[in-house]
């Protein structure tokens, strides 16, 4: 595992560095919890790692409120997501996903950006961000920013829509619809042990409920069940307008089947496709219980 490392100190320097490596082989490094594992297996010759961990720009590593959104910088670590009170109050699903990621030690360094850009089908933060219907702020080496919906960001197993001269700057999560809305929001991670577990299946849900008990908005995403994390659009639609406490057994199953329709899981050494589907159905039902 041999590579050069460049550590730009601010975004201007970062953009310059990216430009100078345009025709060479390089990778970004943030918390390195994915990257080092990958490079240990195989490191291309003459690789340079552009280290993002020394960037001083606050925007890259802070959580900010705007009128419409909560913006989370790509360098925010999982442990920051766990301890931030806004995240805890507004988006429990994201806090829970971060809390269930790996172990205390890894959460100290693992970043949101790293999780997103690894684009693993079992990425826990991805799954939560997708349920929250976030969008991605992408910056290029000319410092230009463009937005992409989170669903368009992932184009295949471990593949994002990022071009070589682009990096993830932040994600924007739309604020909940009403301040008064109550939330039914959480992250269900299936695995054999309670920590250091890679999701065998995951389900992120974020339901907003008005005073009368009516669901006014719903976000459901599933992980480790398809080549990318999936947003279960029709399952969300099914919920909107219905009362949270009045689902019949049949309706719960209908909902679970809708979630399941987004799953095309594989069998691997951690579980069979049969198990993944069975569990996904059960826990989807469980969301409405």
């Amino acid at each position: 595992m041999e590579f050069e490392i460049e550590s730009p100190k601010n975004i201007t320097e970062l953009c310059k560095t990216i430009k100078s490596y345009r025709s060479k082989s390089f990778r970004f490094g943030a918390g390195y919890t994915d990257l080092l594992m990958e490079l240990k297996k195989h490191t291309p010759r003459n690789l340079t790692v552009i280290n993002l961990a020394q960037l001083k720009d606050v925007s890259f590593s802070s959580i900010r409120s705007t009128t419409k959104n909560i913006q989370i910088g790509a360098m925010i670590t999982a442990s920051k997501l766990v301890t931030d009170t806004r995240i805890e109050q507004l988006f429990p699903v994201l806090q829970q996903a971060a809390h269930n990621l790996a172990s205390t030690q890894i959460r100290q360094v693992a970043t949101l950006g790293g999780n997103m850009c690894t684009a693993s089908p079992s990425g826990d933060l991805i799954c939560a961000a997708m349920a929250l219907q976030a969008s991605c702020e992408i910056m290029n080496d000319d410092k230009k920013i463009h937005n992409l919906s989170i669903q368009d960001f992932f184009i295949g197993v471990r593949k994002t829509a990022l071009k070589k001269n682009e990096f993830l700057f932040a994600i924007n999560i739309p604020r909940n619809k009403k301040r008064t809305a109550t939330l039914h929001s959480g992250f269900i991670k299936i695995g054999t042990r309670k920590s250091m577990e890679c999701s065998v299946v995951s389900l992120a849900f974020h339901l907003q409920i008005d005073k009368t008990g009516k669901i006014i908005d719903a976000g459901i995403a599933i992980g480790a069940s398809a080549p990318t994390v999936k947003f279960a659009q029709s399952a969300c639609q099914f919920l909107i307008g219905k009362k949270i406490n009045s689902f019949s057994e049949k309706e719960k199953e209908e909902f679970a089947n809708k979630v399941l329709s987004y799953a095309s899981p594989i069998s691997d050494i951690r579980a069979t496709a049969w198990y993944r589907k069975e569990v996904l159905f059960n826990i989807s039902k469980g969301v409405l219980e």
Partner: protein, 765 residues
């Protein structure tokens, strides 16, 4: 023991605890010798293949000092059956197979050299299932096996019986027959395998820094492998980062490292990576156990009939002898009138297993205790009651000839049954979470196991002119805390402060013989050996003290560094030693003793009292199963264990907690997954060892039966806590869901499958 004890029974921390936790401890990985080279091993790419090997390119790499293949060495085969070539020639038979080894100036160069070795493989179809290996027209897997059995792929066979099986079948009102499948589990020692070999050309002596658990057997095995004189080989054990049985066998990498040192005349070190550790260190024995058992109308067990097929892997290790312990569980745990036992170890192209804490007993106990629950169901008897009714008792001599001079079985059972009050929390209205409880007991040797010509241990004890005591013991420390317990015994008996007691136990050139750390024997055997040496030394000290104090008596007490007479005259211990050394007749304050337990070598029918004493334990466990996910959450584990006598409650707790967690892992998560002989999960990511977050509530109740054979009445404790755990958890899960479990680990997927099958069966009915 009527004497009031001062130190024994108190929670003295492990004397090396600080050193180990601060990083001061020197493990095998920390050793650096001048001019040392780094060794690396090339293993086959295919579990079964013919190959030709060309090392010429690799030899040219600057920094490579030596490369060896089978053609370069003259060695004997190793392993329990001497059927294991150290370096394999022309044919690979399992994924671990060592086909070449490199010594180089750096680790990186050694790894680079491995890549430059050219191997041409002709891949062959392997036999990965023992049933396939037993078929008629299949090839012989191990060409070096003795071939003394009716089938060429049988590595070892065991037969045992007692009682009148046919009669007992007739006496049974219910008979249950089940087949159980047990997985491969790995020890996952914190320190990976390591060795540093240093051969001195000028005198032909070989020095090995090795983390073996059995240095004297290892010395002999090494000598046999290398065709050397055992006494020319000196074994020094650095601090060992975990054993659990994995270091009972000598493994090929160890003589390979020695060979590299012999060839180069330089010290050579081999350290495993974690991945290599998963692939190339031994495992728990996988096996199929078919158990048929009966019960009479009163709920008394009648008979057990056992057929076992063990996957031996390509070579034979100590692991092949686990039926020796397995048959004890079947023949002698609970009262049983008749037993017939057959076990086969069958060669396959899988990796070979080795010894692992419990030595076959967790497998046996799982089958046995599962079937007890089924028998209870058959006759409608309570599961606690059927166990109490059949529990072993003091004074019992079992069908196999084990003498239970003391026996805490019933008390253990009663304790855990009473303690497990399940707060049957109201089952939620959706019925998602189900709770259940399970019981299991175990029997294990508690006073060594006579499987070698001697099960003894030697001690040399000395007191220096400053009143410090050195215990030179044959036994060794592999993390279990034996040094601490030995120091406590010396402190208790000699009235010397713990800080003035040193334990020397790492050097075969210095220490007296001992068979090694296994069979939960060390505190028992080494403790008794030390007590023997103390008695002899005290006699000498008493004589001198009597002279110096002008006392007639020879019965002194030892306290606070003083020797005290019945009339309360006292003299400092160090002064007595100085007087011994420096005044006539000028003798040393030194004594040696060899302790041999009263146990007997079993006869050819495996009958006889094989251990100095026997340990019993029972566990009761409550679980909650999530029927949506199949996850089993262990809530409470109650453990009562007949430990004879608590020597040190802190160390005992450590053994109990560690053992139980290994047991929970065995029950629920840990499994090496193989496909066609290849390991698919050689990492902690997918080999699911439990984490701190998964630890259940463990409640421990020691039962003291004060065995007259044990030091202060103590019995062996190390293996016991792991043995019944998987069985009790399986029983609890079956109780919660009304399903049957015949396979470990009880993964979430297996649980959901069982639930689905139950639903299907209901539909079909």
């Amino acid at each position: 023991m009527s004497k009031k004890l001062k130190i024994i029974g108190t929670p003295v921390p492990k004397h090396d605890a600080k050193m180990r936790t601060t990083g001061e401890a020197i493990y095998g990985h920390d050793i650096k010798l001048p001019n040392m080279l780094y060794g690396a091993i090339l293993r086959t790419q295919h579990p079964h293949a013919e190959f030709i090997i060309d090392v010429s390119e690799a030899k040219k790499l600057p920094g490579v000092v030596c490369i060896i293949t089978a053609d370069d060495v003259d060695t004997n085969h190793i392993g329990y059956k001497r059927d294991h070539p150290i370096l394999k020639k022309n044919e690979a038979n399992c994924t671990r197979d060592e086909i070449a080894a490199v010594a180089a100036e750096t680790k990186e160069i050694a790894q680079e050299a491995l890549k430059l070795i050219k191997v041409k493989y002709k891949v062959k179809k392997g036999l990965y299932n023992p049933h396939d290996a037993l078929k008629k027209n299949v090839p012989q897997i191990n060409k070096f096996s003795s071939g003394k059995f009716e089938n060429k792929n049988i590595a070892e066979k065991f037969f045992y019986e007692h009682g009148n099986l046919e009669q007992e079948k007739k006496n049974s009102v219910a008979i249950v027959k089940r087949k159980f499948t047990l997985p491969r589990m790995t020890h996952a020692c914190m320190a990976t395998s390591n060795i540093t070999a240093h051969y001195t050309k000028t005198n032909g002596k070989l020095l090995l820094y090795s983390s073996t658990q059995v240095p004297f057997l290892y010395q002999r095995d090494m000598a046999h492998a290398l065709k050397m004189n055992p006494s020319d080989i000196r074994i020094i054990q650095p601090i060992i980062g975990g054993g659990f049985g994995s270091k009972l066998d000598m493994h090929p990498f160890e003589p390979i490292c020695a060979l590299l040192s012999i060839k180069t005349g330089k010290p050579v070190q081999i350290l495993y990576s974690r991945e290599e550790e998963f692939i190339a260190s031994p495992t728990r024995q996988p096996m199929e156990i078919e158990l048929t058992a009966g019960v009479d109308k009163n709920g008394n067990f009648t008979f057990r009939e056992i057929e076992i097929i063990k996957d031996n892997g390509a070579y034979t290790s100590w692991g092949a002898t686990t039926p020796f312990v397995i048959m004890q569980a079947f023949s002698s745990l609970y009262k049983i009138k008749a037993c017939r036992f057959n076990a086969l170890a069958v060669y396959t192209n899988n990796v070979f297993a080795g010894s692992f804490r419990g030595y076959g007993n967790p497998q046996a106990t799982f089958a046995l205790e599962r079937v007890i629950d089924l028998l209870a169901d058959e006759i409608g008897m309570d599961k606690a009651e059927i166990r109490l009714r059949n529990a072993n008792t003091k004074g019992e001599i079992t069908g196999q000839g084990l003498h239970y001079d003391t026996c805490g079985h019933k008390e253990c059972l009663q304790t855990v049954i009473k303690k497990l009050k399940v707060e049957k929390k109201k089952v939620e209205k959706n019925n998602r979470f189900k709770r259940g409880i399970g019981y299991a007991s175990m029997l294990h040797v508690g006073g060594g196991a006579k499987i070698y010509r001697s099960d003894g241990c030697g001690t040399t004890l000395k007191i220096d002119p400053y009143g410090f005591c050195t215990i030179i013991t044959g036994s060794n420390e592999i993390g279990q805390g034996s040094e601490t317990v030995l120091a406590m015994i010396a402190a208790e008996e000699l009235g010397i402060e713990l800080s003035k007691i040193k334990v020397i136990n790492t050097d075969t050139d210095v220490k007296p013989w001992d068979v090694g750390v296994h069979a939960s024997r060390t505190s028992f055997v080494a403790g008794n050996s030390l007590l023997g040496a103390i008695n002899i030394l005290k006699e000498k000290l008493n004589n001198k003290a009597a002279k110096l104090l002008n006392e007639k008596t020879k019965s002194f007490t030892y306290e606070n560094g003083n020797i005290i007479s019945p009339s309360n005259q006292q003299i400092a211990l160090d002064k007595v030693v100085r007087e011994m050394h420096f005044t006539e007749p000028n003798e040393l304050a030194i004594a040696s003793y060899f302790y041999e337990p009263s146990s007997k070598f079993q006869d050819k029918d495996f009958k006889g009292n094989v251990s100095g004493t026997y340990a019993f334990a029972s566990q009761s466990i409550s679980v909650e199963v999530d029927t949506y996910t199949g996850n089993v959450q262990v809530l409470d584990i109650h453990v009562a264990q007949d430990v004879g006598k608590v020597l040190n409650p802190l160390l005992l707790d450590g053994q109990i907690h560690g053992g139980i967690l290994q047991g929970v892992g065995y029950a629920l998560t840990e499994e090496l997954i193989f496909k066609d002989g290849e390991l698919l999960n050689p990492n902690f990511h997918n080999y699911k060892m439990l984490t701190a977050a998964d630890v259940p509530n463990i409640h421990f109740y020691p039962v003291e039966t004060n065995d007259k054979q044990g030091p202060y009445g103590a019995k062996g404790v190390g293996e016991a806590p792991l043995i019944p755990t998987a069985a009790a958890i399986a029983n609890a899960v079956c109780n919660a869901l009304d399903i049957e479990i015949v396979e470990l680990p009880i993964t979430p997927e297996r649980v959901l499958k069982a639930i689905a099958e139950k639903k299907n069966n209901k539909k079909n009915k």
